[in-house]
């Protein structure tokens, strides 16, 4: 039975469960960061629902270039919690060998590309990936997520230019959380973000990214457009950054006038209320799902904590496929006896 539209109860419950997992994970990371166990974190609180909607609509073959704030997207797409922790803890099971800051993921098995810190720099890569997929006659589209600040970057312009001129199947999704660190969207740009495709002939649409039903409905149109081979599409998902920009940020400096507890805007609360209203869940089941999520998050954390770090000298690997004499010499230097 569908909850709303095509959304079955099971799907809705799964979405909700992953939202809870993401939220619990986010809180866990923040506390681990405070204890000095995890180095840094960019919380995704307030943006879980749009991220989950993206994962719900994307196929396995679709290639996702997510950004640093997409925890919930990973969980909904099935990335095991253990793999996420391995990266956050930069332990020796981390596929990236501890090379990147927390939240800079790359899960090739799940068709997630690679996250970098320079804002927007993944965007031009998406068009190349889409070109490669089309050229090699592979199924699937490319999906890119990014923040409102990213729309100002040169990379955004470059990506939309190329996507349009070569008619490439890239679905650009801006998670407009209202802020680029301390800069509100109103100072980032004077135009509506979803209209920024107009200068390239790329259609756009704004969706309420805090609402699962609205997100799915809005995104569906965009996915259909891109899958049909018509070219790129730009979605602006309006969300809300409930917390600080990152664990290094203190929003009190710039967010003074605002109610910052976010309860009004909490997308998970919204989904919860809807499901309660529709009778899909009751408060007891919500309590138990929360407890389950927390239990899993805590347990897996303990489990992955015990994995040792990478060996220091691995820092010399992967600069090239085969290290040059320079890396070899420097490796010896590092290993030299005192």
């Amino acid at each position: 039975m569908a909850m709303v539209g095509n959304l079955s109860n099971e799907q809705a419950i799964t979405a909700y469960r992953n939202a809870l997992r993401a939220r619990a994970l986010d809180m866990k990371i923040i506390s681990a960061q405070r204890q000095g166990i995890i180095g840094f974190h960019v919380p995704s609180q307030g943006q879980e629902i749009i991220q989950i909607a993206i994962s719900m609509l994307s196929d396995k073959e679709d290639l996702i270039f997510s950004y640093y704030r997409d925890l919930a997207m990973l969980l909904q797409r099935g990335v095991p919690l253990s793999m996420i922790y391995d990266q956050l803890l930069s332990n020796s099971k981390d596929f990236q060998k501890g090379r990147q800051m927390p939240d800079h993921f790359s899960f090739k098995e799940f068709n997630f590309s690679t996250v970098q810190s320079p804002v927007g720099a993944h965007l031009p890569l998406t068009v190349g990936a889409a070109y490669a997929m089309r050229y090699s006659k592979k199924k699937g589209i490319v999906i890119a997520t990014f923040g409102d600040g990213a729309t100002s970057t040169s990379d955004f312009h470059a990506a939309l230019s190329m996507a349009s001129v070569f008619n490439l199947g890239v679905l650009f999704i801006c998670e407009n959380n209202g802020w680029a660190i301390s800069v509100p969207t109103s100072k980032q740009t004077k135009a509506d973000i979803y209209k920024k495709g107009a200068g390239y002939g790329i259609p756009g649409k704004r969706v309420d990214g805090n609402d699962l039903i609205a997100s799915l409905a809005g995104l569906q149109e965009a996915f259909d457009y891109v899958r049909s081979g018509k070219g790129a599409y730009l979605v602006e998902a309006v969300t809300y950054r409930m917390g600080p920009h990152s664990t290094s940020d203190d929003p009190k400096k710039y967010r003074v006038d605002e109610i910052t507890d976010g309860s009004e805007n909490d997308p998970i609360r919204r989904l919860e209320n809807l499901m309660l209203r529709m009778g899909v869940l009751d408060s007891a089941s919500i309590q138990s799902m929360r407890a389950q999520a927390k239990e899993e998050i805590d347990r897996t954390f303990e489990e992955r904590m015990s994995i040792p770090p990478t060996e220091p000298e691995t820092i010399f690997d992967d600069v090239y496929e085969n290290p040059s004499w320079i890396q070899e010499e420097e490796r010896r230097d590092m290993n030299a006896p005192d």
Binding site: G39, F40, S90, K97, G98, R99, Q100, M101, H104, Q116, S117, P118, V119, G120, G149, A150, S152, T153, S154, D155, A180, I181, S182, V183, K187, Q188, T189, S248, D249, K253, Y254, P309, T310, P312, I315, F316, V319, I326, Q327, E330, D333, M334, A336, D338
Partner: protein, 316 residues
């Protein structure tokens, strides 16, 4: 160093209304490292500009301001993020005076924190001074303490040419050098001799200065220590004088070795003081790899690596 810089910018703004501060999060937030704290309140949003997220736009706009009468101090939030503006820096600001036969100038300061040691991984740790120091038309400075931070910033603001002002972020809250009130200058192009010695010379700058000094002190080294302070143009006289004096030279910096600033220092000595050399010139530097998140303590030159080089040149 943060306080010294903040106070310096404040005084420069008070002194000259043509001084404009701009960059990402420099206003309300006061900069992610608080270097521009409180300036927005004091000088208003016509003089302190929170900009959109585009470094090319920041530097390009600041260049236009500088050509037409203002004195912008633009912040790039991390030096790692300056590269989107690299074309403007190399092809415009470094060349506008030249290409117009001196009829336009670009009195612009680009401030940016650089270097590692803050667990920032690949993209919050780079030391990119060499990318700029290869470009004639630019001036590149980096202070190693709060006093020089103020003196160099003031000297930069008195210039009529663009200055890349690199702030070693690891030292932002380190050390307690006294900084006199008011504005004063530290001459651009002049190194500081931090210590006199006869047995060897250690040439360094920026974030590595405290590491070098503590190594020298702890091990009681009889070393001449130079803090370059200006990377372009380097103080060739100071470099050659110390090389001639001791004949044993070690260069320490955090940036990767290959074509790092140490290469130029070494080459200047090999050109001008080769007869005085009693030992190889050793570079103790960051490794030629992207800056790793894990194990950065191995990446950064430390006492152990410096002492290995010292032993080598002394026993040579």
């Amino acid at each position: 160093m943060v306080q010294s810089l903040n106070g310096s910018i404040d005084m420069l703004m008070a002194e000259d209304e043509k001084v404009i501060v701009m960059g990402e999060d420099v206003g309300r937030d006061g900069g992610v490292f608080r270097v521009t704290d409180n300036l927005l309140n004091k000088y208003g949003d016509e003089r302190v500009l929170d900009t959109p997220l585009n470094e090319l736009a920041i530097i390009g706009m600041a260049t236009g301001m500088a050509m037409y009468g203002l004195k912008p101090i633009a912040e790039i939030q991390f030096q790692d993020y300056i590269f989107p503006a690299f074309d403007q820096i190399v092809n415009n600001i470094a060349k506008i005076r030249y290409r117009t036969g001196g009829r336009f100038s670009v009195p612009l300061i680009i401030r940016t924190p650089y270097g590692g040691g803050v667990r920032g991984g690949l993209y919050h740790s780079q030391s990119g001074e060499a990318y700029f120091a290869h470009t004639a038309g630019l001036t590149v400075v980096t202070p190693s303490n709060p006093y020089d931070a103020r003196g160099l910033l003031v000297a930069a603001s008195r210039r009529n040419d663009p200055v890349i002002f690199l702030e070693p972020k690891r030292l932002y809250r380190a050390g307690k050098t006294e900084v006199p009130d008011g504005l004063f200058e530290v001459e651009i192009g002049k190194a500081a001799r931090l210590r006199e010695g006869d047995e060897l010379s250690i040439i360094t700058y920026g974030s590595m200065v405290p590491t070098v000094m503590s190594t020298v002190e702890k091990n009681g080294l009889n070393a001449d220590v130079l803090d370059l302070r200006t990377i372009l143009p380097m103080d060739v006289d100071a470099i050659i004088t110390t090389a001639r004096k001791t004949g044993r030279v070690i260069i320490v910096h955090e940036a990767p070795r290959t074509l790092g600033v140490g290469a130029e220092i070494s080459a200047l000595i090999a050109e001008r003081a080769v007869d005085s050399l009693l030992a190889p010139i050793i570079r103790v530097t960051g490794y030629d790899i992207p800056y790793p998140y894990s194990h950065e303590e191995f990446y950064l030159p430390d006492e152990k690596r410096i002492m290995r080089a010292v032993d080598r040149v002394i026993k040579y």
